[in-house]
Each structure stands twice: as C-alpha cells, then as structure tokens.
C-alpha cells in the first residue's frame, strides 16, 4: 500500500471517529456527559500524576449551563 493511500485511509478513519463523537454529543448529550464524568473521575483522583490529571480535566464536561433544553440542536 502506498503512503498516499495510507494517508487517505487515515483521514477517512479520523473523519469516521469524529462523526461518531458528533452523533453521540448531539443526540445523546446526557449519556455523553455521564460517560465523560465516568472516564474523568478515576484520572482526577488524588495521587495521580500531573499528565493524567490534565487528561482528566480535558475529559471532564463543562458545568451544566442551566438551560432547560438538552442542547441537541435539533430545533430545525
């Protein structure tokens, strides 16, 4: 397989992975939020190394905005 073709497959794989995240985020916002909290909590425990805590902070969702709407952007 040529390097060019490999690169094309890598781009397609990245696009597919990003698409999965977009669908999860837009259509299952609460589930995604719970999932992010569950992933972030173990990384943020006391005693974890700095890089792990940094990943945990990155994974953790932002505080809820207080909007009544679930934020699925579906109102079209």
């Amino acid at each position: 397989m040529s390097a060019g073709l490999l690169l094309q497959y890598a781009v397609v794989a990245l696009a597919a992975a990003a698409s999965v995240l977009v669908v999860l985020h837009k259509r299952f916002p609460n589930t995604t939020r719970r999932l992010r909290v569950a992933l972030a909590l173990p990384l943020l425990r006391a005693g974890r190394p700095g890089w792990m805590r940094a990943i945990g902070r990155w994974l953790a969702p932002a505080p809820a905005s207080g909007k009544d709407c679930g934020g699925c952007d579906s109102c079209g």
Binding site: Q8, A16, G70, G76
Partner: protein, 620 residues
C-alpha cells in the same frame, strides 16, 4: 442593586404578548423568538447588558402570566421566580413589569398584583407607538404617581426604544424595597380580591388614560371577515393553500442553481483528487449526500417566510379560534393550536410550548399528537419524493406538486385530529374545555424581523447539515465501503439493509431504503443524504453516470413505493430528540413508549395499506 459594579438581576414580567421578549432582545442583543400571539416564551431566558451608567445587569425574560395565581406550568415559573421560590435562583433585584399600552385594561391588573409583592419595580409602557397611532393618550406622570412606582415608555421594536428604561435602571440603582401598596377595599371582609383589582384598574384608567375606542377599527373590520364561521375558514384554507403553491412556484430557479453548483463541485473534486477512499468519501459521501439536502433550503425558507409573516401579523390566534370547535370535537382545544403550529417548524419546541396548556389531559393529548405535525425536517424528504414521482404540470391555476405537498400537510393534520379523537374516546372523556384566548391587534410584519427570522432558520438548517447530517453521511459511507473490494450489497450497510428489508418488504421498501431509515432516527433529512450516498456509491461501483437523486429514484422505484414512503414519513417518529422531549415533558417512560409505539405502528399500517392500494391501481 447596591454597588455600581455589582451584577444586578432584572426580570421582565407581564401578561403574555406584551413585548417582553422583543424588549429582552433589544436590551441584550439576543435573538429569541418573538411572535404576535400569547405563549411564545415558556421558560426563563437570561441575557446581559451594561447600562449607559456602566452598571452590569443580568436580564431575565420570563413567560407571560395573566395572574400570580398560576393556571399553567409556564405561569408557575414566573410566579415562583419573582417571589424567590424558584429552585437555584435568587429573587430578582428589580421587576420590570412590561405592559401593552394599547391594552391597559387587561395588563394593569397584573401590575397591581406584582406591586402587591412589595418588590422594587418599574412599569414599562410598551408599544407606545401603536397606542399613539390609535389615539390613546396616557398621562404617564399620573399613572406613576397613582401606582407609586416609576413608569417609562418603551417601543421594543425601535432601536432606541428602551432608552428611558435604561436610564431608569441607572437612576434606581440603590433603591430599597418598594412599599407594599394595598388595594383600596382589598382587605375588607366580603370584598372579592379580584373585584378590588378590577375596581382599582378602572380607577387608574379613568384617571390616566383617554381611549377613543377599546379596539382598533381596522381589527374589527378584518375580524368581521376573518372570524366568520364560513368566510373565515375559507380564508384560512386559501392562505395555507397559497403558501404551499409558493413553495414550489418560487423555489425552482434557486434549487436548480444549487443543484448545478453541487454537480460542478463534485466533478471538480473528483477530477482533482487521486483515486482512493478519500475521493470516494468526498464525492459520493459528503458532496452527493449534503448537496442532496442543501438543495431544499430555498423551499424551507419560502415556507418559513410565510409562517414568520403570519406569526407577526396576529392572524394565527384567529386561526386557533376558528379551529377550536373542530379541535374540541377531536379531543383537543384551541389552546393546542399554537404548540401544534410550532411543531410545523420542529416538534421539540412545539412539545415544550404545551406548558401553556392548563388542563393536564389536553396537554398530554397535544404532546402525543405533536410529532404528527409536518416538521421542516420532513420537507426535504417530501420534496424529493414529489419531485421524483409527481410531474411539475399545472392543474387549472395550480401547480400539481404544490397540491400534493398541501395534501400531505392536510393528511398530517387530519391524522392528528383522528388520533386525538381516538384517545378522547379511549379515556371516555366527554368534557370539553372552553377556550379563552387573547386576540392581539393585527400588525404589518416588519421586513427586518422576517429577514432575521429567515437568517436564523437558514443558520439552523445549515448547522444541521454541517453537523449531524454530515456526521451520519460519513458514517453511512464508511459502512457502505467496508469491507473494501466487495459488491455494495455485501458491505456492512448492505448486509444490515438486507436484514431489515425482510421487515420492510411488505411496504415496498428495498434494502437501500431500509438502510437509509436507520440514520434518519437522528434527523429526518438524513433520509435524503443517505439515499444520495447509497445511490452515489452504487453508481460509482457500477461505473454509471452520476445523475441527480430524484432522477435515479424515479427510475429505480415504483410509484407505489414512493407513495408508501411518503405515508411512512407522515407518521414515523424518526426523531430521537422528539422522543427525548416527550420523556422530559411527561416525566413518563410509559407515555414515551406509547407515543413511539403508536406512531411506528401507524406508520407501518398506513404505508402498507397505501402500498397495496397503489399496487392494486397498477402503480407497481
């Protein structure tokens, strides 16, 4: 509001349709939905502003309320929030009681109720321009003196219409609690508090307001025709009919241009990129898929231009009044009209706006039938199928495609009424709830407001195209190309489609339609992009010339299949957000499961019957 630098919280309160949200938009630069009827805002909205004196202010836009004795969920939000009982929200520092200056007889009652809370408040006399045009003279100083609170004039639709209000926010920055002013006679034994409010309102009107007549002459003249039991209904049918004619008659040149641009882009990208998966994804997936959806933007915008103009005109509550008798017979009430109308844009805000319905049974019935209203996401699917199977010829003065689109909308409305009627019979409810509805003054739609509304609508649509629809199109393209090097029917998507086709074959749906139905659960328009991707990939594999999607399905499907798919889309609850909203608003998985089950059941049944009838008529 103590220190100049401290964030003050100001709440806009008042009767429905007095212009609170228009004032909120003017103050904060927001673009919340406004319309000329009661019940548009059903939840609190928050925005920020800085007064001319530099004071930062958080502005809350609250749902309209006729009284502090809340009769519906949205009124309860306002009641609790201004009293400081709303969970997680402190009481506002200042209440701005917005009143419609052309309708003080109604709105002053609420001002008196709010004043009785004893909280700092300002009265904003909104729509003063309209009041002056009607010859209404208001002695603002007398009104302020008699009420014992500051009164300012505002015109929320004018750029500098809140100048006096902003100055007032600065002026009363350090104000303390307003003295509670009891109504004359309110505490006396035997005196009805409501009667005391009425009496005080009449006294204030006599002192401070000179009104040549209670209603506008033009409103009375128009209402004589538009509220007539026969001519009114005819006018309503004519308006709706013309809207759908225009959708087809005006959109074609723009749609042709978008189609040509998409074709050019696909050909250019195809010629530029080397052979490989990335070119396939971009040309057959992204450009073919998204181009197939974007082409319907002109039709959506034309439809919404009419809806926005009707919303601003004040005609829609009249339509609710006209339809009340029919809706009551079906188990709904005229109150259901506005939520159902909102559902024509999207069922999610439509279901949320049922909070303004006071009776819980009416509210539940409205929630359960709201998904049947033809939301804008269905329009691309309808337009695709109509374009493929209905010739664009004239029938008398009318466009046949427009007629078919109109009949699809009518079929959805009649189905909703039929379902509501069955539910009413099921629960053996023989009672009818009287409709009390405020009819606003007619207003010429502001071109700027309609243009902003259309811009917002276009952005929402394009955001969906660039977000969820793009994501699902990419995923479907991947499934249609894995594993590589096999025929399309042996790919992952092909296998899933063939498995599903067993279920959908009785409706005339082949594996390609079946696979396109799955991502449609996330957004209905994905049906179009999915079909475009499936056909583009198949065409690329077959080395066939690319064609526009509707030409391909017209060639590939029978008319009976097209009719069955149209019938399916009238009923099927193919929108996970709608189902999530039903769950949130009813707090019941049982009701959500019921809505999902009956809608899918109905979709399957009607599509099956439509397919069989079409086959029997020789349309196979």
């Amino acid at each position: 509001m103590n220190a100049a630098s401290e964030l003050a919280r100001v709440a806009l309160v008042g009767n429905p349709n007095c212009g609170k949200t228009a004032l909120f938009n003017l103050l904060t630069g927001s673009r919340q939905k406004v319309a000329n009827y009661a019940g548009v805002t059903v939840e609190r909205k928050e925005g920020r502003l800085r007064t001319p004196g530099g004071r930062p202010v958080a502005v809350l836009d609250l749902p309209g309320a006729y009284s502090l004795n809340a009769a519906s969920l949205d009124e309860a939000v306002t009641r609790d929030l201004i009293r400081g009982f709303y969970p997680g929200e402190p009481a506002p520092d200042l209440l701005v009681c917005v009143v419609d200056a052309t309708n003080l007889r109604l709105h002053l009652r609420f001002v008196l109720e709010v004043r009785g809370l004893g909280r700092p408040m300002v009265v904003a006399l909104n729509m003063m321009d309209a009041a002056r045009r009607r010859g209404i003279e208001i002695d603002v100083d007398t009104l302020a003196r008699e009420l014992g609170v500051p009164v300012v004039e505002t015109v929320a639709v004018r750029r500098d219409g809140a100048r006096d209000l902003l100055a007032q926010l600065d002026a009363i920055g350090g104000a303390t609690q307003q003295p509670r002013q009891a109504l004359p006679g309110a505490g006396d034994p035997g005196v009805d508090p409501g009667a005391a409010l009425h009496a005080e309102t009449r006294r204030l009107l006599a002192l401070a307001v000179a009104m040549p007549r209670r209603t506008a002459a033009v409103d009375d003249a128009l209402d004589r025709w538009l509220l007539h039991p026969v001519f009114g209904l005819l006018a309503l049918a004519l308006v709706m009919f013309l809207v759908f004619q225009a959708v087809y008659a005006w959109a074609t040149p723009l749609m042709d241009a978008i189609e040509a641009a998409t074709g050019w882009l696909g050909a250019t990208v195809g010629a530029t990129l080397p052979e490989g998966p990335l070119r396939g994804l971009l040309v057959d997936g992204v450009i073919a898929g998204l181009g197939g959806v974007v082409v319907f933007l002109p039709q959506i915008l034309i439809l919404f231009a009419f809806i926005l103009a009707l919303e601003e005109s004040g005609y829609l509550p009249r339509a609710a009044f006209l339809l009340d008798r029919g809706m009551a017979a079906a188990g709904l009430s005229g109150r259901s009209f506005i939520p159902l109308l909102s559902s024509f844009a999207c069922a999610v805000p439509g279901i949320m706006s049922t909070r303004s319905i006071q009776d819980p049974r009416d509210r539940l019935a409205t929630i359960l039938v709201a998904p049947l209203m033809t939301c804008s996401a269905r329009l691309p699917v309808y337009a695709l199928l109509i374009g493929a199977f209905i010739p664009p010829r004239a029938v008398g003065w009318f466009n046949l495609q427009g007629l078919v689109l109109f009949s699809l909308y009518v079929a959805a409305i009649l189905s909703a009424l039929a379902v509501a009627w069955v539910m009413k019979r099921w629960r053996r409810d023989r009672g009818e709830h009287p409709l009390l509805l405020e009819l606003p003054s007619y207003r010429l739609p502001h071109l700027r407001d309609v243009a902003i509304g259309l811009w917002e609508r276009a952005l929402i649509f394009l955001k969906r195209v660039g977000g969820i629809i793009l994501a699902l199109t990419i995923l479907l393209w991947v499934l249609l190309n894995v594993p590589a090097g096999v025929g399309i029917e042996d790919t992952l998507a092909g296998r899933i489609g063939r498995a599903l086709a067993v279920l959908f074959e009785p409706l005339g749906f082949d594996w390609r339609i079946s696979i396109a139905l799955i991502p449609t659960m996330a957004a209905r328009e994905v049906m179009v992009s999915s079909l475009a991707t499936v056909y583009a990939v198949a065409a690329a594999n077959d080395d066939a010339a690319s064609d526009v999607l509707r030409g391909m399905i017209a060639q590939d499907w029978s008319v009976a299949t097209g009719i069955a798919l149209l019938a399916w889309f009238i009923y099927a609850p193919q929108c996970i957000s709608t189902l999530a909203t039903i769950r949130r608003e009813t707090h019941s998985w049982k009701q959500t499961a019921f809505a999902t089950g009956y809608l899918f059941g109905l979709a399957y049944l009607v599509a099956f019957v439509a397919y069989r009838i079409a086959l029997a008529m020789g349309l196979g």
